[in-house]
Symmetry: C2
Subunit: 388 residues, 2 copies
């Protein structure tokens, strides 16, 4: 298997954008190509596009060829859209990586885009209701917020986790996103503000939840041995893990134990040939505050049930045990489904390059993981990146 | 790059099925695992699912984990859904191939499924309208039938192709599908019957068009060196080609010259290290009769503009220059979007194994290509398979 590196990437600003789907694609595409010298759209042989629900959000399918068109790419080896709901963008990165690793293509672009703001936002909410198994779980009115709310309730019951501890995740990630110019939310929040924000699904308040977001982003992948032709500061893909146990919630024997995340992190560390304490930065999928707490535990950053204490003690801050979501996470940056994993990866690249503001820079960071979950936390996807 | 083989596959019967999406998945999954000895769902490390528009046809996204669940697979290396509209299934095969070729996984399943019959069939038609670029082409009322009708009109004007010649494609493919027990349409048609069938978009009548179809199918891929552990009759993946020039129709400088198909077949033959006259069977994407005629020409089976003569002379029949669509094609078998490429590949496997009825068996066939186009023929995807 060939080693693969990411040589550059670019993003839109994320949020409620006065821009069409097409304009988001163009904006991120330009930023991506502007980020890398000596490469142009005509060099790209493979294009993989992460998009979760363009058919519903923008009434447009067959979107990978449209991205190709607006980026000026004529893919001559591989083209496809990948869907894995909230991990759709990581699915694109993974397929692009497989293309270059196998030798099928020498230059690949992994791109992600989602235009989620619709004229009728009730329709956007409806779209999110088709993620979980409609006949098994949807019928019981379970969509993402109620599912993660149940998880939080059970975690509070079993382990004594508090709403204040969950709010601290929001405080941390919103703080980091104040230093991220592409973030959707750029204001600090306090525990009090989180607790006083509108109730979404008990015990989750508004600021416990990531937003509805428009955004796009893309990265360029080449064989590691070619990377230095394009940049002095590439980022290596050194490992990955992905695991799934179905879509219906009842596949999780215990909703406070995300078995597939434990499987995926084990595989990611095994393939990267590293141990967890070598990881400097973790971009974890904080779709809800409880998610990040569950992830501390499943990754083994702390004991089971101690995720609340872990944030309370400041461990996931820069300077703590590990920097978790110094980008601002989904809570701070927004969650444009197909683009999210690309945004995470680009921020890691910028961390390694020292291009992020001082207040959220993990100095000397060399190894990072990025993580996305999808559906009711039954599917987990991780990449492991190394500087240089 | 590791060599990869397909060791077995299984399908549903295709057509207007009294079966839910879930039941289609289960039916094809059982058939697939029943087709291979010594392998079980727990051995599968990677699952790629081709599905074009499940969000619209069945109001369900995140479908790959649902397929995993109903097949009893717990993917521990790779999982994703691939979308490339009418080529979504081939996109799944291609990603599964990349997983095994790169060494990311040792056992992969490529699966495809589409439940297209809806309670309100007007809604199914509406769904098909979001394939082409909605703002550039959809606004002009262009969906698939009008696009291929324009192509046919221009082909008739430029080259003197006749409606009777197009009808002959339908006659051939419907004839072969009478011998295919999983085909949606199992009755012979005549040129007269095609010409007298309801007009869809001039000059295309109903029997010039492939159907709306429910169906599912899947194949299992392993490294070629492992294939004989599972079967005496595997099928090798020996080449592939894929090319795209955007989605909007105006990317085709000339609608009667499918440039990306010419690019993709050249790449497919180059990677397979064969010439076109070594190909015994071609499963070509006959979504409309004119498509197959255009494909004879773009593949170089006949001179440009002589596709009509090519079918008139019986060249694409078994015993002619090359057997085109001895499965019955999309015209005869139906076109369950995400499943179509899987159905083609499984039929090739059965051809190589001598498991198809005598009247449509290409005796001694050793090499085959399968082809799918998507969107307004701006994207073309090909696989090259060899017996043994």
């Amino acid at each position: 298997m060939r080693k693969v590196a990411i040589i550059g990437g670019g993003t839109t600003k994320c949020g409620k954008r006065q821009a069409t789907w097409r304009e988001l694609v163009q904006e991120a595409g330009k930023a991506m190509f502007d980020n890398v010298d000596n490469i142009s759209p005509k060099d790209v042989e493979a294009l993989l596009v992460g998009a979760a629900q363009p058919e519903r959000f923008t009434f447009q399918v067959h979107v990978a060829p449209m991205v190709a068109e607006h980026l000026g790419i004529i893919p001559r080896k591989v083209i496809a859209t990948t869907e894995l709901m909230c991990a759709s963008g990581q699915a694109a990165i993974r397929y692009a990586w497989a293309c270059v690793a196998s030798g099928i293509a020498d230059v690949a672009v992994a791109f992600g885009v989602e235009k989620m703001y619709m004229p009728d936002m009730a329709e956007a909410q409806t779209n999110m209701a088709c993620v979980l198994d409609r006949e098994w779980d949807g019928v019981n009115a379970i969509s993402a917020p109620p599912f993660f709310a149940m998880t939080a309730q059970r975690h509070m019951y079993e382990f004594g986790t508090t709403k204040e501890q969950m709010a601290l995740v929001s405080v941390k990630n919103h703080h980091y996103s104040t230093m991220n110019p592409i973030a959707q939310f750029q204001k600090d929040v306090t525990v009090e503000k989180v607790l006083q924000s509108p109730m979404i699904a008990p015990p989750l308040n508004l600021f416990d939840c990531s937003g509805i977001t428009d955004g796009a982003a893309g990265v360029i992948l080449v064989p590691a041995e070619d990377a230095k032709k394009y940049t002095d500061t590439p980022m290596q893909i050194i490992g990955s893990g992905q695991a799934s146990i179905g879509n219906a919630i009842n596949n999780l024997a215990n909703i406070t134990d995300w078995v597939p995340l434990r499987m995926a992190i084990k595989e990611a560390l095994r393939t990267a040939k590293i141990s967890l304490n070598e990881v400097d930065i973790a971009e974890l999928h904080d779709c809800f505050t409880i998610s990040e707490i569950m992830e501390y535990e499943a990754l083994g950053l702390c004991e089971k049930g101690k995720g609340g204490k872990f944030i309370e003690n400041g461990e996931p801050y820069i300077g703590g045990k590990i920097a978790v979501n110094p980008r601002g996470g989904l809570l701070g940056c927004g969650h444009p489904l197909g683009a999210t994993a690309l945004l995470q990866s680009i921020d890691i690249l910028q961390q390694f390059r020292g291009e992020v503001p001082k207040g959220r820079h993990v100095k000397g960071g060399k190894i990072a993981v990025t993580h996305n979950l999808s559906g009711p936390a039954n599917v987990h996807s991780l990449m492991v990146y190394a500087r240089g």
